[in-house]
């Protein structure tokens, strides 16, 4: 029997985060303000603390992880790298499949890696309270956790329909001391306006973002800021600890570099966290296939145009250069709630433009099929988001079998599915549906992008 778990000691934990922005041959296009001109760091100051804004625009390759943050992460980090020998046996593949188990964090996913870091930097900056939005509650519970451990107040605007239908994540947030309200709420102008117009609205992530930002910037004491769980450069940065650990662990397992790196991508943070240290190797000449995986129901990277677009539905954020389905896109009700986002992290998008990353889309049912295979072999019940990555892993392992090649596949097991079991129920009882995006819908939602500043697709032509 091969070794299943490759563990690291706490003393082996990475002491710096990796900033891909420093190494991309062509830089990410700058965020633009309402006037179409690049925004300055100062313009973000009411929303984020200056130390995180500095990280957001940093061109340093390596950024030190404060010792105090590591001391918090030790609760669950370094996470094990595991070898999926049981799945390999089941598939009879010559591929060696490794996965980074990020489900070990108390909230159950990779999200706390940045939640803890953001809470720490805000506290350093004198901030007393963070606001955020959450859909199904994965991010809200991670930020509640981070704030609790650092003694910050936390306010979460949770999309109404999830607040009502998924009470358990809300209870998690409350256990960690957060104040979680249904959005739209009566606590902000944005919320009150929507409630007046549509008292029965189920809410949306776009509305919740507007409420969370308003609650942060209108705080009279100036001690409140907003926190985002994905998309932005500094969020992706904090997640690179995953890939940096994985590199050390693969080495410990006697492997050189992986042939294939896979992660699911909604806003891009778990994918980036695992893959960016390997993208650096690819830039340096290594032959690695790097696959961000998304749902066919929300095919941002595989079918969306590369364009400047707003990060939220309400058009309150700066314009970001990214693949996008249009900020008004209404994603179908797939169970992988974390992958229902119209855009994608600009750093990931620029990697795609450069040809460093090869996005791929999977149907919901194929993902659940992969998840059930996983549960029956490796044993664990995976998050619906992660199951998208597993579908791609199984595909690549079968390809390796057909080719008779000993490929090394690495993927991010971004979270467990214990809070999201209803999708399994639907799948097992044959009630699950796929939602491939019709061309006409895509055209409808992306039509208005031409009215915004044009995003130039710059590439070095090396890949």
């Amino acid at each position: 029997m091969d070794k299943i778990k490759i563990q690291l000691d706490e003393s082996d934990i990475p002491r710096q985060w990796y900033n891909l922005g420093a190494d991309l041959p062509t830089p990410v296009l700058p965020p633009l303000g309402p006037d179409g001109k690049p925004i300055s760091p100062d313009m973000l100051a009411p929303v984020f603390p200056m130390n995180l804004i500095e990280q957001e625009v940093s061109t340093e390759r390596w950024i030190d992880i404060p010792e105090e943050i590591l001391n918090i992460l030790y609760r669950w980090r370094p996470t094990p790298l595991k070898r999926a020998v049981y799945l390999e046996e089941h598939l009879k593949t010559p591929a060696r499949i490794y996965y980074k188990d990020e489900s070990y964090s108390p909230p159950g996913s990779h999200k706390p890696n940045t939640a803890v870091a953001q809470a720490w930097y805000n506290k350093e900056f004198g901030i007393k309270k963070l606001t955020t939005e959450t859909g199904a509650g994965q991010w809200g519970s991670a930020l509640a956790f981070g704030c609790k451990l650092l003694g910050l107040e936390c306010k979460v605007f949770m999309v109404r329909i999830s607040f009502d239908q998924k009470p358990f994540r809300k209870i998690m947030m409350q256990v960690w001391g957060a104040n979680c309200v249904a959005s739209p709420s009566n606590e902000t102008n944005a919320g009150r306006k929507i409630l007046e117009e549509m008292p029965d609205t189920p809410g949306s992530l776009g509305i919740a973002i507007s409420e969370a930002i308003e609650a942060a910037v209108t705080d009279k004491g100036g001690k409140t800021r907003y926190s985002l769980g994905s998309v932005l450069n500094h969020v992706l940065l904090h997640q690179t600890i995953i890939g940096l650990e994985a590199k050390k662990q693969l080495e410990k397992a006697g492997e050189k570099l992986p042939d294939i790196v896979i992660g699911c991508a909604g806003g891009g943070s778990n994918f980036a966290g695992l893959s960016f240290p390997f993208v650096a190797e690819k830039i340096d000449g290594a032959d690695i296939k790097i696959l961000p995986i998304e749902p066919t129901a929300c095919p941002t990277m595989t079918r969306g145009p590369f364009a400047y677009d707003f990060g939220d539905t309400a058009c309150t954020t700066p314009l970001l250069a990214m693949y996008t389905l249009g900020h008004a896109f209404v994603p179908p009700p797939i169970h992988a709630g974390g992958l229902r986002y119209h855009g994608m992290a600009p750093l990931v998008c620029q990697g795609i433009v450069e040809g460093l990353l090869e996005p791929r889309a999977y149907d919901q049912r194929e993902s659940y099929k992969a998840a059930v295979t996983w549960a029956g072999t490796e044993g664990a019940i995976t998050a619906p988001e992660t199951s998208q990555a597993i579908a791609a892993v199984i595909d690549e392992a079968e390809k390796a079998k057909a080719e008779g090649k000993e490929k090394v596949i690495l993927f991010n097991y971004s979270g467990h599915g214990l809070m999201d079991l209803s999708g399994y129920d639907a799948y097992l009882s044959g009630k699950l549906t796929d939602y491939p995006l019709p061309d006409k819908e895509l055209e409808k939602y992306t039509a208005d992008l031409s009215k915004l500043p044009k995003a130039e697709m710059r590439k070095s032509g090396k890949w």
Copy 2:
């Protein structure tokens, strides 16, 4: 910062289970049949496979763990021993608190340690299908998991009220391929009889046990057996891997033996699993305080008489010598469902009779208070059962502080609470109640025990 996680390599996993029965100065009294005479192994053969019956009655101190079982356990074992430095800091205690994190198993608790072993031994014996009962679903999901990995069929009779109110554990079982039905069901004589008399009954663990045993023994092919998740000697045996790992890990951490060992106890298996290897040290002369913890609502060990009693409500099992609240005891609706059992493992009970173990009871609200302190310091959300142990840990750590002593406390973190969040909601909103057992209730339920054979309290007098 001290070391948080003390990890073991897979090559360090214990290769034998420890049988406390071989070392107790006074043996456990034999189980009795309906005629009041000790039962023979043959009488159990329709219910359990002979290889497990041999383990049940074994007097060997060490029993080899088959390599094939270890190969399954490697999915999550060895589990880390963790030091609760964040709780220590919060309490400002000189005590060093260590815990064995059994929440790492895919079903989320210690239960799979025996589920996998039982499934393996049954398969070895030629059995194709296992039946069992489950209350809230913790044990049912563990056995479903074990059967799936070994290719056995699994049938779970789940108490009707839990089946209806807690659909998520049922979905877990289905993901692992088990057939889970509400009990009472129409599939057994026992179930049909109850349904005729009380069509709207919420069901009970007693009824579900009767159904599961009937379904096993009436199987025409003879290839079906019954499986129990606690109480019996062989079940406790399989759990001793927890304490054996913990001993190695404490040594690795530079500790000798713990001063205090703590575990919650419903049927006794997680408590026994951690503590029995340390009970052996105590028998050999070590000075260790060993505390099984139970709820005041179901105070089997602290208030029940030591007597022969049935293991189930329906009086179908052999009589076991144990502390008991009477087989007809109806436990109040505390959230720690795994601790709502009228009896206790005979091995644990004999340890109490001998004075080796010192049981203690905690109220539900005090346990939830401890769980919320834990979530805010160590970070994780604990199972309601485990929170009872944490309440005792906090008490002992505060005692060590008052005495200014550097005590080493070890406890079993038997499971996470992600599937049991409603109790937290009730606690946080002030709706949680304690249910101390009134004397009159205790008298009522234990009155009939005098009609059964008397259990002699034999003790060596050494403790």
